[in-house]
Symmetry: T
Subunit: 142 residues, 12 copies
């Protein structure tokens, strides 16, 4: 089974940036933990601050992988183009957010991409990613 986590803008600053909201852990250490928890899964990782590069990556993996876990960061609320890409590819995408986006500024409540995703997981810190992986694993085995 082959999954990929795609992180959008500023998520490379995890552990550096606004720790009261996003926590102290950096993403690389977390990724290792995650791989250890799911040793049978091939788990790729990609991060970019550029909207179009995220689209490129989604197109690249979107017809062959078993699932995509997407945290589009600030593009969640503004990118019609990423939403279009998710609709265009054939692989399921799970939208995740580290913080509870509904408990923050009002403009973060409106995600443009949610309606094209399989499901949304928001507010569980880094564990949001783990829950998404779990769901792909469970769906497979059903």
């Amino acid at each position: 089974m082959k999954l990929i986590i795609i992180n959008g803008p500023n998520l490379n600053l995890l552990g550096v940036r606004e720790k009261d909201i996003y926590g102290e852990a950096d993403f690389d250490s977390y990724l290792n933990e995650l791989k250890n928890k799911f040793p049978d899964i091939e788990l790729d990782y990609y991060q970019s601050n550029v909207e179009g590069e995220i689209i490129n990556k989604l197109q690249e993996v979107g017809f062959s992988y078993d699932g995509i876990i997407l945290n589009a960061g600030g593009y969640t609320n503004t990118s019609v183009a990423i939403a279009d890409t998710i609709a265009a590819i054939t692989i399921s995408v799970i939208e995740v957010h580290i913080s509870n986006i509904f408990a923050r500024e009002e403009f973060r409540e409106k995600s443009l991409i949610s309606k094209n995703c399989k499901g949304i997981i928001s507010g569980f810190g880094l564990e949001s990613y783990q829950l998404a992986v779990s769901n792909f694993v469970d769906s497979k085995t059903d």
Copy 2:
């Protein structure tokens, strides 16, 4: 560890009602499966169509359980009172939805209770409940 699932209006009709949206399974069978998957957890269940009774139940368990999993159904979008209750009690609540509420009618996108919950899980069918239980288990062990 003691958790409770609280289901709001019309969720007693699962397996009967609009099967294209909510699936064929009835909730009781699913609950048994769930208990089997988490044999060490005491997992209570409560369903009511009455807004105030859901509030009563939330108040009753909200200071002593280890976690609440709430699918408020149609009250999700209209109940300031349930949102107030979640803020008032001390136990964490995870909001779950069977369908992807962001891919349905626009008025379902706006949840009044999300901002007071620990996190939101939406769109994974009945598995949404399982992911919520997982999160309570994982948080405990951390």
Copy 3:
């Protein structure tokens, strides 16, 4: 043929409350008249001020009766949950209002339940109920 009239909050005050809007008649006398006009029809009646009890009743009769005539009163404009119930049950519901809700306060114009009902009859005083019964009778005989 078996029909039920379900009246929502404050409709038990008919003949007592705001007579300039709702008229002088109380509902019980009217119900008797109605039964006399349609002697061949079994016509049940239920009234509650509690949103969830109306949902309970709708679920109870919603898979076996021949038709439901619903005046949801103040819940017309606020209850997503009742609207969900109407969509979930299999029996047709006709929405009725005693007064012309479009000629009153603006917030009364927006009914959340209309889109799930078979039809709407508004503004004919208590006769609104009779017209609804007529329609169920005529549809049957067609």
Copy 4:
């Protein structure tokens, strides 16, 4: 007793146009049926696609007939002038719609003329007209 049915734009296409919404019957055959059901009533009919001609007709009959049954079609949502005419004449107008306008596009939900009408009947197919006639008859005999 003398009533008139006034139909607005595109209602001359009934039986030709969008049959999934409006049904297969053409209005002329229906009108005959209706006359047969109410043999004691003089029932006139008028149709026009021109907003101003509908106004002319409303003014012409609006001080002498016993009732007007109006399906203003697409002018329902845009015509302040027709609404003004209904307020200006002395005969009661019942607003009817073949389809349930609340279950269609959102812009159809807002009728400009409802507030000046005696009542609204919407969603019963062609039988909406019959219910309106019934109401005029019943009111007369009361």
Copy 5:
């Protein structure tokens, strides 16, 4: 003179819940104080989390008491049905709030029931209730 205080959802948690907003006192002790301050007044008390039960109580006392003091809690902002009840009964209702609802979240600013009440008192802590009682007393003696 016979008055009643009706408290809506979550107000049974006073002294337990969010003490920074609602203070440390529980309502029972306060009620005793209040009765001591107004020894000549018969002062009833009712609390419910269920919208429809509040309506039931308002109907029960609303034609015979000398005044009603209502803190509808979270139903203040969502209940057309309670607003309708206040309009339907003949006894005056004073709307009270413990906190200054205008200094909190924006959705709390819009009360559906204010327009049907005699007056509004908001922001004086539990003393809001006392001011309401005072007003009923003063009006009586005028």
Copy 6:
């Protein structure tokens, strides 16, 4: 000097319709009075309930008369097409209203045609027309 008064829908009912708003006078008698007050002016009159006929008339006189006095009635608030005609013709148009449109329903406050007119006179009863004629006379003599 050659002027024309163009009246829109329902203004032929003046003296018949809603006398509390529009007064008891019919327009013909008023027109005679007006001609007597301004004996040197050629004063034409046109009324139609049909939007397109008002456009036809505006086009017909709009390149040769000295001024147009337009009371567009209910089309004031809905007709982009009449507003376009006023912009297209070369003769000045003064918009008049018998009643104070700003003191009536809110939807009447928004005139689509005002921005293309020379000026607006509203609220002086039938004298609104006289003030408009005065202005054309005064502008001429300046």
Copy 7:
């Protein structure tokens, strides 16, 4: 007969300020012309840039004069207090504007005071004042 013209903020700059909108004439010369045209009328004049002073003046003359002609300038769109004053006094107020406020910025279209005035005259340059005086004279002689 005793009238007063009250001019609001910046109208003392007429003839100095934005001549393409307001013209070249200063108000004093115009006032003299106006007095000459209506020799039998006592015509007072007041100008202030201070909202509260305009209110003071309206209160002072508002129970004894025969009419008030008010150009509230920039306060037209923002002053609830001036609107209240017009409602409180017993003398009629005519609202005038030199330019066509509906052909300018959108925020100028919404006058807060129109609904409390007898009528509105807008867009005739300084002649707007003359038309207002005419109307008071004509109403008197009727």
Copy 8:
């Protein structure tokens, strides 16, 4: 192949009206040019200022021609009835505009009829019509 161009209100003034927006050419000369460019096509023409007459014409040709080119002028933004007609007939309609409606006043941006048309061509001057004809020709030959 049989096409028709239907022009709405004020388009008979082309070459007379606002030449800076609509150009100097009158429509008749342009129509001749167009016929010369497409000698094999039967190209009818109809213009009316009356909304209902445009509906009549659309109904008349809407079940037998090969295509309709519609410039609804000011009715583009206000006519639900014309939009309904386009949905009711079976022949494709192309919406054209001479000017770029998106670069003009904001209320022109919202066309009520676009969603029922095959396509939209806006901003190419009179050539917008030619592009529409081309498209009908090309679709035929495909």
Copy 9:
């Protein structure tokens, strides 16, 4: 104990203006009554129609008195500057209204100053002021 009542625009007209809304009493007589009821309190009074003068007075007393009772009249809904002053001074302000502002025009429902006040009392006629005084007295003695 030293309190001040500050009244905004048009409140000097009490007893003269719109008696059906504001009652027959003038404020001076009422003030005397009030002083008699609270003989131990120094109770100042200030009224102005000028927004800036109210700000001046608030600043003057806002650091030394024991409480301010403010009825800002028409400035309630428009004055950011008064709201800023209330936030800037250190003495508590209670906002009072004679009429129930929530039962009047919709624009009166939105008070800009409420969020900076200690509490709001609205709808008790002149007794609104007395309730405010009571609250300051009670708070002192607590």
Copy 10:
């Protein structure tokens, strides 16, 4: 004559993605057809998923080519920056869309770039591009 077609995000998936909306053809084959139809025109092609790269290309060709045909895909509705670029360059841009954007989701109706383009062509499938080329050719030869 030198033209360029610039395609935005996801248009490289044509023939792969959502074929019910965008058709079966891939863009390369279509481009060849197009070149064959216009053998005398130099027709460049550029596609990118990155907003800023589209801006780069527009700047590069925007002062020297004879015309630009732009399908900005999902950036149509969100990119102020691309709209600014179109305003900044001197070559005309025609906006094209394959599908009828007005018949799809509401957020697609609002194009930020339309107002800066020469014209808009939407809804003709891939032929939208050909119509745009035709227009550049025709304009040249005029």
Copy 11:
């Protein structure tokens, strides 16, 4: 060179009021510093809490000074009249704010006067004034 700083309501409380937002310095000391930094400039100062007095001062200096630095305080968001004055005078005005108005309450983001000013400087504490002076000096010397 002759400049003036005009401060609006509550800015006389600087150093007294909300020090966490506006800092500890009072304006007089700051003004002295500023004069020392720009010894060659004549720098006047005016403060008023009265909207109309600010207008008076702007008119007085607005045709003869070299520049105006305006902090309109709470009138920034509500005064159409001050905005009109800035448009009417011939001297440039720079709008300054001590705090970053875009990082505070949403209603402060909308300045009515910005569009008529030369430029805006917001968020630099008292140094906002110095930057404005610098700009007038630099513009002069260019």
Copy 12:
């Protein structure tokens, strides 16, 4: 002291593009002037049309420089991601605009990034950059 100016999309066209709005100067010459005025400051420069590259640069310098001067061009109004980056880095950012963005199209008035910046300087032509540099220098020396 080390500062950087970051310019967003289309600002590389300065001196080429819309000179009536942005002036004749190109940015390079201006940058040289600026360096001459502040010889003691290390002043870097970066321009990109790509949103993500601006984010990359902000992250790169955002933990080590002494200040960032950002003109985000068209991304000012649409980029949640850039706003997030500014919040995430530790160095202060000053937002500058060449033109007065409040005097242009309405959609330019709303900056998404202002609330995370130290301050805003808008409308002073290229001198806006110089004022920003001055402020960083002055803050340093304080």
